[in-house]
């Protein structure tokens, strides 16, 4: 698996920093009023952890003392709990705003304490004294989520056009517009030479599955009842970029090796009950049925689509 996600990251209402509320305690806040961090609002941020391939700035670490996120790619920084930051397990990648338009922008690295902080807020307190200093660092974007879908990738053959990691980052980016977190729960290689080319019939949701669809979707190692399996095959027959028709009670989709970079997100959209957006005027939408010709990428989800996705039993609140 190329990366996983971690939620329960929060913006501190006292120092403007970014801290992890999923550990014991509130950490240590550098604000003059002292004590631990204070959750500024209900926003629940999701971060990419331990990515082997991910667009953005890698090398961010969680400090085991103050619970802040700090950039370990250069200096150790200054910790509000005293001394320098101390890295807990896990390395995080944070997207540049220029690459990730659907997240919350204006997060920056402080040149003094090396911590991530929100430069668009009213509070701003640095552990090294005074306010944080972005010192020209680029704007970074964070994903705010209120729900999640859980994906499992199962690879019979590796796609030739777009790497699976890229497709997974694309779906994460697109779904972030609807505050839907995409969890990459497991990854498995399947040695099923008989199913490299899978007959999918008319590929209609709710159709009776073909024998080959039945055989393929039976491979659900580690996949929970309301989780989605994605099978990467060589071809579908008929030839399609992907197909979201799946046997009842086995939610999933097939992605063919000729898929575009948006096909995975498109097919999962079908699994979450979305229909095609027809007509050239919709060429900037994810559900446009020509994802290789998407204009103004990344493609969009509209409000009614986001609502439908969240109403799906496969999207859970977080």
């Amino acid at each position: 698996m190329a990366w996983s996600t971690q939620r329960a990251w929060r913006r501190c209402g006292k120092c403007g920093g970014f801290w992890f509320s999923g550990a014991a305690g509130q950490g240590t806040c550098p604000a003059a009023i002292g004590g631990g961090h204070l959750q500024a609002d209900t926003n629940n941020y999701s971060l990419v952890v331990d990515a082997t391939i991910a667009p953005g700035q890698s090398g961010w670490r969680r400090c085991s003392k103050c619970l802040s996120l700090w950039f370990g790619g250069s200096a150790q920084g200054t910790c509000a709990a005293g001394g320098s930051h101390s890295a807990a397990a896990g390395s995080y990648t944070v997207a540049f705003t220029s690459q990730f338009p659907f997240g919350e922008a204006n997060w920056r690295c402080c040149a003094k304490c090396q911590s991530l902080f929100f430069a668009g807020g009213a509070v701003n307190q640095c552990a090294a004294g005074g306010g944080h200093n972005p010192d020209g660092t680029p704007s970074l974007s964070l994903v705010i989520v209120d729900s999640a879908v859980r994906l499992h990738t199962k690879v019979l053959t590796t796609p030739t056009g777009t790497a699976i990691e890229t497709m997974m980052h694309n779906i994460r980016e697109i779904y972030a517009a609807g505050r839907i977190d995409v969890e990459w729960v497991s990854h498995e290689n399947l040695n099923l030479p008989d199913l490299l080319d899978v007959e999918v019939g008319d590929c209609l949701i709710g159709q009776n599955p073909t024998d080959e669809q039945t055989a393929l979707y039976a491979n659900r190692n580690n996949v929970g009842a309301n989780e989605i399996a994605v099978y990467f095959v060589r071809n579908t027959i008929p030839i399609m970029n992907g197909c979201a028709a799946h046997p009842g009670g086995q939610p999933g989709a097939i992605v063919a090796s000729i898929a575009s970079q948006w096909t995975l997100a498109h097919e999962i959209g079908h699994v979450l009950a979305l229909q095609h957006a027809t007509g050239a005027a919709n060429s900037d939408r994810l559900m446009f049925n020509q994802t290789s010709a998407i204009t103004n990428p990344p493609p969009d989800l509209i409000a009614s689509e986001i609502a439908a996705m969240k109403a799906s039993g496969l999207t859970v609140g977080v």
């Binding site: 030739t160 056009g161 030479p193 008989d194 490299l196 080319d197 590929c203 060589r234 071809n235 027959i237 008929p238 030839i239 399609m240 970029n241 992907g242 197909c243 090796s257 000729i258 898929a259 575009s260 096909t263 498109h266 097919e267 049925n289 020509q290 994802t291 290789s292 010709a293």
Partner: protein, 153 residues
Amino acid sequence: MELTLDIVRRELQADEPRYRQIAADLGPDALPYLRQIIASEDTALAAKAAYLAGVIGSEEALPVVRQAAAHADVRVRVAAAAAAGMLPLDHANDVLVALVDDADAGVQKMALRSVPETPSSYLAGRVEALRSTSQSEAVKKASEATIARVKKQ
């Protein structure tokens, strides 16, 4: 509206092309454009073009599917093997005699599925031989299923 290469390409760019509808809309006039697409470097469209040629299925589709059957990319040959099953009988035999002996087991499997119910004697002999000589269990199984299907006729 006059059919153009761009129109054909646009139809094939669909993530999930509805081939029967596209074939009905474009008809055999699309076949020369499908040849151009198969000859291009866009393998994804080439595979879709090969399949569409089979769905159009007219007499003129044979050279298009035959071209796809000789494509360097195995995915296009799989598409050709599937398309061959939708061609007129003689044309299907013509394409499939090459594809049942393809180097890729997936192409062979698809070609065996496309063998018509009344295959040529040569093609029937190749199907019979593959049942015992193939190194691939999938190909052996497909040849057995094909033999059983043909014998029913």
